[in-house]
Structures are given as structure tokens and as C-alpha cells.
């Protein structure tokens, strides 16, 4: 019992550290950009500097954190739901689905007719959500349920490839969306404004609350399907709810920032390597971790080549990929040592 409470205490500390890191990073995020630190000093006297800090750096800093938090949450839910540490919003095809939804939204709205910003954001998010949900459902149908995780991962890869191909076909048919879709697939926080932040906060609140209240089923599932069922949990509806959470979180993040790889995969791993607690806590911690990871990457992307900036998706793929390789290498070494 004391063991459990120790883990809980540890998880609280982790939450505090992550929140503190977030606060520091938000301040840092307000200071880093193409125009350098001066904008912050000159904020009071210069309206343009104020606009840069308040209307560009703050929303994109918060937006990067929120997108990371959504992806981290989706990753934790996916890994718990499918009892597979490799499950990630990208590997289950939902990100490809979301991107396809985004492409379809662009074709439908016509890049030539930019309507009201709000409608477009909502439309884009809605389509991305629908695409993500469709992809997950397709994956589940192909895998005939969630029992066989290898089958499911394979199905996810297949769905991802097929939906990616459909997107390619859309791009070939409507070359006008080629450029925005390319920008989309690079993943960038540069286009996030306050409305996008508000949208992501709303989605995050809904997803976090839902994940928190449905986490019991994830804990039950770690003991096996039958045990979970014997606990009297309504497995079907709860699973469906979690899949909806995953699709909403992924869809919202992808619609606002484009494709940002590895955050959803790495965040839950990082949390698990530090604490081991129940899914309710670890899901929320993963979310915080995802936010911190993506915000760090975003600040790096803005700072490394200043005044030029990198699309953050490129950086997370580089960093996240290297981290995964290291994790695999270390896992291999540990297994070797154990014999």
C-alpha cells in the first residue's frame, strides 16, 4: 500500500515539475522568435512589438503546448486501450485519416475562397476529426477487434498507407491544394492564433475529462480482457468512448498544426519511465509531458536557425526518432545484460 502511495506522491511531483517547466517554457516562448528578445523589452512603447509578443508568440507557444498535450493524451489512451507500447495516433492510421480529412476540407472549401476564419477552423477540425475516427474504425474492422495487437498495428499501418494514397490522389486531382498540404505535412505552429488556441483548449478539456473518467477501463484492461469484464465494466461503450477521445484529440491537433510525429508515442513512454501509476494519472501526466515536449521542440525550431525557423514537425521527427532508436538500443542492451 505504501508502495502505491509513494508512486502517487511521485506522480504529483512529476506533475508539479511539468507544470513548472511549462511556465518557464511559456515565458521563454514569448521571448524567442525571428525578431529576437528586443520585442519583449520594447513591448510597452512599440505597438508592433506588443502585437508580436501578444498575438503571435503567446498563441503559438500555448498552441504548441496544447497540440503536444492533445497528442500526448491521444498516445497514452491508445497505448492503454490497445495494451501496446507502440500504439500511437500515427501508427493506428488516425493521423493519416485526419490529414485526409484536412485535405478534403481544403478541396471542399476551395483554397480560392477563404471564408470566415472561424467557420474554416471548425470545418477543418470537424473534417480532421471525422477522418481520424474513420481511420480508427477502419483499422479496428480490419483487425477484427483489439484482441490481437500485432494484427491491429499491421492494420493501422495498412490503413495509414491507404488513406495516405487517397490523399495523394486528391492532391494530384486538385493541384491547388498541393502547397498547403505540403505545409500541412511538415507540421508547423506558425499559423496558430487565439481562435485555434481556444478550440484546442476546449477539445483538451473535453478529452482530459473523458479520459480521466474512463481510465478505470484501461486499468482493468491491463489485467486482461476477461478480468476487465469480470469487474463489471461496460467494456464496449467505454472503449468506444476512448476511441472517440483519441480521434478528437488527434483530429484537433492535426487540424491546427499539421502532422507532428512522435510526440504521441514518446510522451507516455517518458512518463512511464519516471513513474508507474494508474491510467487516470498517467494519461494526464502524458498529456502534460506531450505539451512540454512539443513546446520545447517548437522553441528550439524557432531558435536554432533564427531569424529563419524550422517547421516543428521536422524537428520532432528527428528528435523523437532518435529517442526511439536509443530506447530500442537500450532495451536491447538491458535484455542482453539480463541474459
Amino acid at each position: 500500500m505504501s508502495n502505491v502511495s509513494k508512486a502517487v506522491v511521485r506522480s504529483r511531483w512529476l506533475a508539479v515539475v511539468l507544470l513548472a517547466a511549462t511556465a518557464v517554457l511559456v515565458v521563454l516562448g514569448a521571448c524567442v522568435g525571428s525578431t529576437g528578445w528586443e520585442s519583449v523589452w520594447r513591448m510597452r512603447s512599440d505597438p508592433v512589438a506588443q502585437q508580436i509578443v501578444w498575438d503571435i508568440r503567446f498563441p503559438r507557444t500555448l498552441g504548441a503546448w496544447l497540440a503536444g498535450a492533445l497528442l500526448g493524451l491521444a498516445g497514452a489512451v491508445a497505448q492503454g486501450l490497445f495494451r501496446n507500447p507502440l500504439a500511437d495516433p500515427y501508427l493506428l492510421g488516425s493521423a493519416s485519416g485526419a490529414a485526409l480529412g484536412g485535405a478534403a476540407a481544403m478541396v471542399l472549401s476551395g483554397t480560392a475562397a477563404i471564408g470566415m476564419e472561424w467557420m474554416q477552423r471548425l470545418g477543418m477540425t470537424g473534417m480532421a476529426f471525422a477522418g481520424a475516427a474513420l481511420a480508427v474504425l477502419l483499422t479496428l474492422t480490419l483487425a477484427q477487434g483489439v484482441q490481437n495487437s500485432l494484427r491491429m498495428l499491421l492494420a493501422g499501418v495498412v490503413v495509414g498507407v491507404v488513406l495516405g494514397a487517397v490523399r495523394d490522389m486528391l492532391e494530384l486531382r486538385y493541384p491547388d491544394i498541393l502547397q498547403p498540404m505540403k505545409a500541412f505535412s511538415l507540421g508547423s505552429t506558425a499559423f496558430i492564433g487565439w481562435p485555434a488556441c481556444l478550440l484546442m483548449v476546449t477539445a483538451w478539456t473535453v478529452c482530459a475529462l473523458a479520459a480521466w473518467s474512463l481510465a478505470r477501463v484501461l486499468d482493468g484492461l491491463t489485467l486482461g480482457e476477461s478480468t476487465a469484464a469480470s469487474l463489471g465494466l461496460p467494456l464496449g461503450p467505454m472503449r468506444a468512448g476512448l476511441i472517440a477521445v483519441m480521434a478528437l484529440a488527434t483530429g484537433t491537433a492535426v487540424a491546427q498544426t499539421g502532422l507532428i510525429a512522435f510526440v504521441g508515442l514518446a510522451a507516455p513512454h517518458l512518463v512511464r519511465s519516471i513513474v508507474s501509476v494508474g491510467h487516470a494519472r498517467s494519461t494526464l501526466l502524458s498529456s502534460l509531458m506531450g505539451g512540454v515536449v512539443l513546446l520545447t521542440a517548437d522553441i528550439l525550431a524557432r531558435w536554432l536557425m533564427a531569424p529563419e525557423e524550422l517547421p516543428v514537425g521536422v524537428l520532432t521527427a528527428l528528435l523523437g526518432g532518435s529517442y526511439l532508436l536509443w530506447l530500442m538500443h537500450r532495451g536491447h542492451a538491458v535484455r542482453q545484460a539480463r541474459g
Binding site: 525578431t35 508592433v48 480560392a112 494530384l172 491547388d176 502547397q179 498547403p180 499559423f191 481562435p195 517547421p311
Partner: protein, 319 residues
């Protein structure tokens, strides 16, 4: 005899009438051309008042600080003599040559640096409607004008739009520039010998192979050179073709942008093409390719580059 004479008189009268009619027709044609031309010019000045989103282009005060995020728009601004009003350009604006040395570079259409753009306090930002940054800049209170020339008619319209934006009367700016371009293109077309007319050309824009169809800017230039295009018009401006299609179409001469980063015989089976066998292939260097594919105020130069290639490489028809 009398009737004959009479007939002759009628014939003469008929001939005279026909001549008169002809003259009349010529006059009518001339008049029609004038009217049509005027209508056409009026059309351009009318459509040029709106940008690609249908918003008015003109501002109360001509802008003093301009950011351009599309190379063809940068070139248009400079061609109208307002290069000194530019305060920042995108990564791909490489003409006039010294731009990047003197102006801040603000990323590209895919990854524009929003913050750096805002920091320059531009009066107006010129960019393509396809850029994702449009709505973001609008939300930040910047004035944007979206224009993306794709055809020769677009080049004409965009010249007028930018002229309007800069507050230049058309006859001193846009229309004069357009007439200069027309003269340049016409001169280039004249330099192509008639024995080359009708030659069937394949223009590869980039590896894919993506071809320049007749409705594209390049296709229109080819048409004005009186040469044919192996790509049918209904395939759209830049269709992606099967290399087999080219093999079957048997072009007389092949033009390639350097962006395709490869030689013609890199496609399997192309070694048997006459154009490849007889080295009737023009591979443009990077600079020439950007000039040729960019629908802007270097259209005359693009025409000259294409004409030079046709003069050098295209096969002469037997007289």
C-alpha cells in the same frame, strides 16, 4: 453583243460592289478590332480591381512598405519601378538579383515567418491565395492582396492590379509594360523560322514527368511560337504523364527544366526517341528554368529562351 456588254457592265458593277463590300468588311473588321481591343482593355482594368478573393486591390494611399511572398509578384512590383518600396521578400524571389542581399528574407510560401513579416510593419503583403498564412496575417491586422498569375492573361491582369495598387496610371505603368512584353514575345516568335512551325514539342516542367499542357503559361508561349504541344489541351495545365505517353507521342523536340535533375534518356525506353537520338533536347539551367516557368514580367525573356532552343534544336521541315 449588247447583252454581253450589258453582262460585262453587270460584272464590273458586281466586282466594284464586292470590292466595296471588302473594303467595308475591312473597315468593319478594323472597327471591330478597335472596339474589341477597347473592350478587352476595359475588361482587364475591370477585373484587375479585385484580387483572387474578390477583394478590392486599390488602397486609399499607395503603399510605401510592401512585402511580397511570391516571386512573380516581386518581379511585377520591380517591373513597375517600385522595387524600392519592397521591405521584405520570400526565399524564392531571386530577381532582381540583389534582392536577397538587401532585403530580409521571410521564408517561403509553405513556412513564412509570420513574426518577421509583422515586425516589418508592411502597408500591404502580396502573396498567393494558396498560402496558408493569408488568414493568419489578416487576423493580425495586416492588409493582404492575393494574386497568383498562371497564364498570360493573368500576367496582364496582375500587372494592372499591382499598377492600381501602386497608384500608377495604366498607360504609364501596367499597359506600357504589357506592350513591351508583347513586343518582346512577338520578336522572339518572329525569330523562329517558319520551317520549324508545327514542330511537336514536349516540355517537361519537373520529374514525374509533369508536362506543360497547352493551357499553361509555357504552353501559351509555345502556341505563340507556332509550334505544337504533344500534350492534349484537355489534360489541364500541368498533367502528370506516363513516360510511355511521350514515347508514343514522339515529340520532335524535348524541352526540360533543370528541376527534373536528370537527362532525357534517364526514362527507360526514351533512348529510341528521335528527339533523344538526334540530341534535340534542351535542358535549361536552373536560372533559365525559373525564368521560363514563372508567369511574370520576364515573359519576353522566357519567350526568347524558348525561341533560342527551338531555333537551335527543332528539326526543319522539308520545304
Amino acid at each position: 453583243m449588247q447583252p454581253r456588254h450589258f453582262d460585262g457592265g453587270r460584272l464590273a458593277a458586281a466586282i466594284e460592289m464586292i470590292q466595296r463590300l471588302r473594303e467595308g468588311c475591312a473597315w468593319a473588321a478594323l472597327l471591330w478590332a478597335l472596339v474589341a481591343g477597347a473592350v478587352h482593355a476595359a475588361d482587364v482594368t475591370l477585373t484587375a480591381q479585385k484580387d483572387d478573393r474578390g477583394r478590392p486591390v486599390a488602397m486609399a494611399q499607395p503603399p510605401q512598405r510592401i512585402v511580397s511572398l511570391l516571386p512573380s509578384l516581386t518581379e511585377t512590383v520591380c517591373a513597375l519601378g517600385a522595387c524600392d518600396k519592397l521591405v521584405g521578400v520570400d526565399r524564392y524571389s531571386n530577381w532582381p538579383k540583389n534582392l536577397h542581399a538587401t532585403l530580409p528574407v521571410l521564408g517561403g510560401g509553405m513556412d513564412p515567418h509570420v513574426e518577421a513579416i509583422v515586425a516589418l510593419k508592411p502597408d500591404v503583403v502580396l502573396l498567393s491565395n494558396a498560402s496558408r498564412v493569408v488568414e493568419r496575417l489578416e487576423a493580425l491586422g495586416l492588409r493582404t492582396v492575393t494574386l497568383e498569375p498562371r497564364t498570360q492573361a493573368d500576367v496582364h491582369r496582375v500587372l494592372h492590379s499591382i499598377g492600381l495598387l501602386l497608384g500608377l496610371p495604366p498607360e504609364q505603368g501596367a499597359e506600357r509594360e504589357w506592350q513591351r512584353l508583347q513586343a518582346g514575345v512577338e520578336a522572339a516568335a518572329q525569330s523562329v523560322p517558319t520551317a520549324v512551325h508545327g514542330a511537336r514539342v514536349y516540355f517537361e516542367v519537373s520529374r514525374g514527368p509533369y508536362a506543360a499542357g497547352p493551357s499553361s503559361f509555357i504552353g501559351e508561349l509555345l502556341t505563340r511560337m507556332h509550334v505544337g504541344n504533344v500534350v492534349p489541351a484537355d489534360r489541364g495545365p500541368f498533367p502528370r504523364l506516363n513516360p510511355e505517353f511521350i514515347l508514343r507521342a514522339r515529340p520532335d523536340v524535348i524541352l526540360m527544366g533543370n528541376h527534373s535533375m536528370q537527362l532525357a534518356h534517364a526514362y527507360p525506353g526514351w533512348a529510341t526517341l528521335d528527339a533523344v537520338k538526334h540530341q534535340r533536347v534542351c535542358a535549361f539551367n536552373a536560372e533559365d528554368s525559373t525564368t521560363v516557368v514563372r508567369p511574370g514580367p520576364r515573359m519576353d525573356e522566357a519567350a526568347r529562351i524558348i525561341a533560342r532552343c527551338l531555333v537551335e534544336k527543332a528539326p526543319r521541315r522539308a520545304p
